[in-house]
């Protein structure tokens, strides 16, 4: 879901009137008045977005597209006006306690995470962001964190206007720290770009493993950093491919080619072919030795017994013959 689309939907939602037939969801006054204790920072919104995609999207759909599941009552599109009419406290109460097909996230999501989701949902509506910031719930928190409402449009505007956005990877060998940098070349020198969602990942078979935290955006120097876990397996040559790129969900908005660098980090993989072990379940030629020898022993025992019996018969025959001659 790109911000552009959200903005578009926001415009649209001003004209669309949603028809509702569901019963009112009454929230106790005390809960309704609850203020969001988590500041609406870019970090919080990013976290909230990830949480939304994991826990809410399957029913509520993409915000602004009104493509939620056809349940009764229908899951409300969080970008819709009807949804945004809720106070933070109301949304918090509804996420916490659930109703009907809406599960209660009381036990599943920590309070902090629920507030992150609310921050994300609010970021879908610029008007609300403005309202929220005008009366911050926790002034100590909001004071030091930059506001998304003021930061994002400017960063985005510069991106649209100026030369091509690029990504680069840097490494600190000792601490195994990876830096990804977003920058533009402007007049022969590099200018860092902040507020670009960048993820650092390690190449894997199905999907790449993200090393940076979910929803991370570049800081004022254009950097995102991540630490490479020492115990992560590398390939059989002892190498890993490290990738810096724009997360899939944001690729519509930021079209930047991903950067890949191969490093000799991680634990070298020594693949074990379990077909090489002797076992009862393995192929015939890999049967356990005890089985091989006990089988061969049994066959040999039978043959030896036969031979012994034959030799006895032969002896009897010889004795009989000699006694007849005598």
């Amino acid at each position: 879901m790109s911000r552009k689309q959200v903005f578009f939907t926001f415009l649209l939602s001003g004209f669309v009137v949603f028809g509702y037939s569901q019963g009112a969801w009454v929230v106790p006054a005390a809960d309704k008045a609850k203020k969001n204790p988590v500041a609406s920072t870019a970090e919080s919104i990013g976290k909230g977005k990830n949480l939304y995609n994991t826990h809410c999207k399957s029913c509520h759909g993409d915000p602004g597209k009104n493509n939620g599941l056809p349940l009764n009552p229908k899951p409300t599109d969080p970008a819709s006006e009807q949804y945004q009419k809720n106070t933070d406290g109301e949304i918090f109460y509804k996420i916490t306690n659930g109703r009907g097909a809406m599960p209660a996230f009381k036990a599943t999501l920590p309070e902090q995470d629920r507030w992150h989701i609310i921050n994300f949902v609010r970021s879908l509506s610029k008007k609300k962001v403005a309202e929220n910031t005008s009366e911050p719930a926790n002034q100590a928190d909001t004071a030091q964190a930059p506001m998304i409402a003021t930061e994002t449009p400017s960063a985005q505007d510069t991106l649209m206007a100026e030369g091509k956005l690029r990504l680069a990877l840097g490494f600190e060998e000792d601490s195994k720290t990876i830096y990804a940098r977003a920058f533009r070349v402007k007049g022969g020198k590099t200018v860092p770009v902040s507020m670009v969602p960048v993820e650092i990942a390690v190449k894997r078979y199905f999907r790449d493993l993200r090393l940076s935290e979910a929803g991370t955006v570049t800081d004022e120097n254009g950097y995102v950093s991540a630490i490479f876990p020492d115990d992560l397996p590398a390939d059989t040559a002892g190498q890993v491919v490290i990738i810096a790129r724009i997360p899939e969900a944001e690729q519509e908005q930021f079209s930047v080619a991903q950067v890949e660098v191969t490093k000799s980090w991680g634990v070298k993989l020594i693949p074990q072919n379990m077909k090489e072990a002797r076992s009862l379940w393995n192929d015939n030629h890999k049967l356990p030795l005890w089985l091989l020898f006990s089988y061969l022993g049994a066959v040999a025992g039978v043959l030896v017994t036969f031979a012994y019996i034959l030799s006895l018969i032969f002896k009897i025959y010889k004795i009989g013959k000699s006694s007849m001659n005598a």
Binding site: N53, T54, H55, S58, G98, R99, G100, A101, P103, A104, F105, A107, T108, R204, Y205, F206, R207, D208, L209, R210, P229, D231, L232, P233, T236, L269, P271, N273, M274, K275, S279, L280, W281, N282, D283, N284
Partner: protein, 320 residues
């Protein structure tokens, strides 16, 4: 005389050789002529006086018309395809060690995994490679849904008992069945402690429709009456770098699938990648009936902090 003999001998030899060569030439000539006659007659036979044309679908999906006489059977090629499918199916993917993690807290019995699996493997509705069971371990314990595929054990009792090597374990950990070898003795069904295996008692679904399809051991289709079938970890999809049918069709984020050698599993719904070891450690992952020593490859995360109602609770919650 003694000295002349070799000359006479060699002359004799020469004559013999000449006759031999003549014989060979004559033989080849006759064979060639016979071949030519045969080919010509064959051609005449195949030539259709009405010039009847047949519509065929090419490999790239185009419908073309071909004179019936030009049609040739490709049985041999089909056999080659089957051989290749068998070879790679037996071998497995080197350097991989597949593992599945099932989060019991997320399952709400949507049964999309079952539908996707049955569609892919040509199963009848009552045949399951994967099924969601309603579990209640004891009188006072909480009920939960448990998807149960084949556990692809690292010490598989089913493979041990097969008398014809029809079922086998590959280097990437998957236990498969070769239905061209299976004799239907059902020893493996008896040996499996998880009841993961099913027997095709009746004609499989759409068996008429698929009877000409080359048998793919990694997909176990076409299913064959009188043989065994079971979950295959979607071995055909893994080869293409795709998640198994059940994993990618789950709407609730129940399944994680990946390669233990990479220590990464991917959630089929959110497509989020996570460290396998971390996931198991943080959530108290376990394998089912591990005390049997079967070493299953499917891990469960306990049904803790459910977000969906447990079995039997749906009615209560929908009226709250």
């Amino acid at each position: 005389m003694e000295e002349n003999n070799p000359i006479i001998e060699s002359g004799d030899e020469g004559r013999r050789n000449f006759l031999k060569k003549l014989g060979i030439f004559a033989g080849v000539g006759v064979a060639a002529a016979a071949g030519a006659v045969y080919v010509a007659s064959d051609y005449e036979e195949k030539k259709n006086p009405e010039g009847k044309k047949v519509r065929v679908l090419t490999a790239d999906g185009q419908l073309v018309e071909v004179p019936e006489s030009e049609l040739q059977k490709i049985e041999q090629e089909e056999l080659d395809i089957e051989d290749e499918l068998q070879r790679r199916g037996r071998e497995g993917i080197a350097g991989k060690s597949w593992v599945m993690v099932i989060d019991l807290a997320k399952c709400r019995n949507a049964r999309m995994c079952i539908a996707a699996c049955q569609a892919a493997h040509q199963l009848r509705p009552e045949q399951y490679h994967i099924n969601t069971l309603v579990m209640k371990d004891s009188e006072h314990s909480a009920p939960y849904y448990m998807p149960k595929p084949c556990y692809h054990c690292d010490n598989p009792p089913c493979v041990k008992v097969c008398p014809v090597n029809a079922t086998f374990k590959r280097q990437d950990g998957i236990v498969l069945i070769d239905n061209l070898r299976c004799i239907g003795c059902r020893f493996c069904v008896a040996a499996c402690p998880y009841s993961a295996r099913i027997f095709n008692w009746f004609e499989p679904r759409d068996s008429e429709k698929y009877k000409d399809q080359p048998y793919d051991v990694e997909l176990n289709v076409p299913q064959k009456k009188g043989t065994i079938s079971k979950c295959l970890f979607s071995a055909d999809r893994l080869r293409k770098g795709e998640l198994p049918y059940c994993v990618s069709s789950c709407p609730n984020g129940v399944y994680w699938f990946g390669d233990m050698n990479e220590d990464v599993v991917v959630n089929g719904t959110t497509k989020e990648a996570a460290r396998f070891s971390q996931l198991i450690k943080d959530n108290g992952g376990y394998t089912y009936l591990e005390e049997l020593g079967t070493k299953p490859r499917v891990y469960y995360l306990p049904p803790k902090n459910r977000i969906f109602p447990a079995p039997g609770e749906e009615q209560v919650s929908s009226h709250s």
